[in-house]
Symmetry: C2
């Protein structure tokens, strides 16, 4: 998909309507905290599943879905959702579950405390808010910033062959963001921990995207990592085909050509805004772009800073 | 006002409810584009004024306020608002107008084109969305970033004696943002244009604040300017009492103590987020803070990049 401007690029990713009434059926906890959203096709499948189970694990009304009253704590919620998703995966009800990753994501409830955890591939079915890290890895050619851009593996299940931020990954349950950064720098780009530790937190990009798999409210913590001239990223775990070392003009052209995985284009645009390459004087949609990079998601987010437990 | 944490700081500034129905009466153009909001006390005064004029310049209903049908273009809208505000200023109807500045701000309509212009001091009465520049001026003490912080003049009409970003100012009608940056660097801090020209655009901070003067949806374009070691800001136009060269820990402490003008604290917090001093691992409210720094304002914003006309 070719874009006429950057506003189209960010709107293509932050694509879910701002009108709450049109987003789907809220999935809520017993205290009314909304933690996700179900599209009509998911509600239909959930009604069918619910009718086969005694007692029914969910309460489903025309206005919302929640756990049944006998499901009251984190372990029970986690178990009910795991049983459901395992059944749907077995029955091939939703293509999203073909990408099963055996990776647990936290679903945050009141106070930013995890209410339960669930398989990552299942989160779009319940429209769960997820959190990841994206790292802009860059260097300098004399005084000019150049960015390391990843080409995703042609065999990757999602978005094969598209361009990506140099390093990115979901935050597994119990990892801090910086630990995730260091882990992913190693796994995806062979960047040693001694260098990755210099990655600088610079903010977050948030958006609400609709994909073939469902509803994805996502927050990506953004880091910048400047590599010394004698260091360059190298593919390691098979997720990346190759890396390019591009000027920001090359990055901009490739974004407008639609060569990027949509959410990664947002992270690259945020980088170019923060580094003065997209400015209010050269970009007429500057403010609207800022809004789409920082969509306010109406779900709880993690509040507790985690102890650092995973030393690389 | 002492704050317990940075979330309180940003909420203190981005203080207007997200519930549109509770914000006030929309002020709209003839095509329905909402360009501002009137608090009940302003509506009451406007009804009184409107009744003294023939023909009445405004149409006032229980749901919205707009120009009367004979007011159809930019010149006429500008004139009607100027006549109104001049009258209110003369009659001392609102304290906001005691701070009359003889500075015109654009009120943007459909397509980001100015629908009319109005006196800066009057914008909170109509809840007009305004645009300014704030420049984080910083230096380094060896490898440590230190920030130049301004103490506002004790005789300034608004927020006397509070801390402020080193340089800041509203964008006058017909100025580009970068021109405004260069103009304000000179006027407020005696920073020569040759150095100010290196200020780097890094994004924008937006918030919706309620002050004693009314409703202020504001967008501040944010610039970073690193000063060479032999350069330091010096007060010039009497708006600044003095400048401090502070570590970011000193900046953080002073923000929590409530020593800052509220919106300037947001700009400083944005700086510390972008420079890796406030991170998702050390700040439990990181995401909520990001939202308040990037409030989506439901008013048109400038879309046209302006020709550079004002060379310093």
């Amino acid at each position: 998909m070719v874009f006429a401007n950057y506003l189209q690029v960010v709107q293509h990713c932050d694509s879910v309507t701002y009108n709450k009434d049109q987003q789907g059926i809220p999935f809520q906890l017993e205290d009314g905290t909304v933690v996700g959203t179900l599209l009509p096709r998911v509600v239909t499948a959930l009604i069918t599943y619910n009718n086969t189970m005694t007692p029914s694990p969910f309460l489903i009304s025309g206005t919302h879905v929640q756990f049944n009253t006998h499901v009251t704590n984190m372990v029970e919620r986690t178990q009910e959702v795991a049983t459901l998703m395992t059944q749907w995966r077995k029955d091939k009800v939703f293509p999203a579950l073909a990408g099963w990753r055996d990776e647990l994501y936290a679903v945050y409830g009141p106070g930013g405390v995890p209410a339960f955890v669930m398989e990552r591939a299942a989160t779009p079915l319940f429209g769960i808010s997820t959190f990841g890290v994206h790292i802009n890895v860059f260097g300098r050619d004399q005084d000019t910033i150049k960015m390391w851009v990843a080409r995703r593996s042609l065999t990757k299940q999602t978005w094969p062959g598209l361009l990506d931020n140099c390093v990115a990954g979901g935050i597994p349950y119990t990892y801090s963001t910086k630990e995730t950064v260091i882990k992913e720098c190693d796994e995806e780009a062979s960047i040693p921990a001694s260098i990755a530790a210099h990655a600088k937190s610079t903010g977050a990009v948030s958006y609400y995207t609709m994909s073939e798999h469902g509803l994805q409210p996502e927050t990506e913590y953004v880091y910048d990592l400047e590599l010394p001239t004698d260091c360059q990223p190298t593919p390691k775990d098979g997720e990346v085909e190759c890396f390019y070392f591009w000027t920001l003009d090359q990055v901009k052209d490739s974004i407008l050509k639609g060569d990027w995985k949509p959410n990664c284009a947002l992270v690259a645009i945020d980088f170019m805004i923060r580094h003065g390459h997209i400015t209010p004087d050269n970009e007429p949609d500057f403010i609207d772009i800022m809004y789409h990079l920082h969509r306010k998601l109406e779900f709880p987010s993690p509040k507790k800073t985690l102890e650092i437990k995973h030393q690389p």
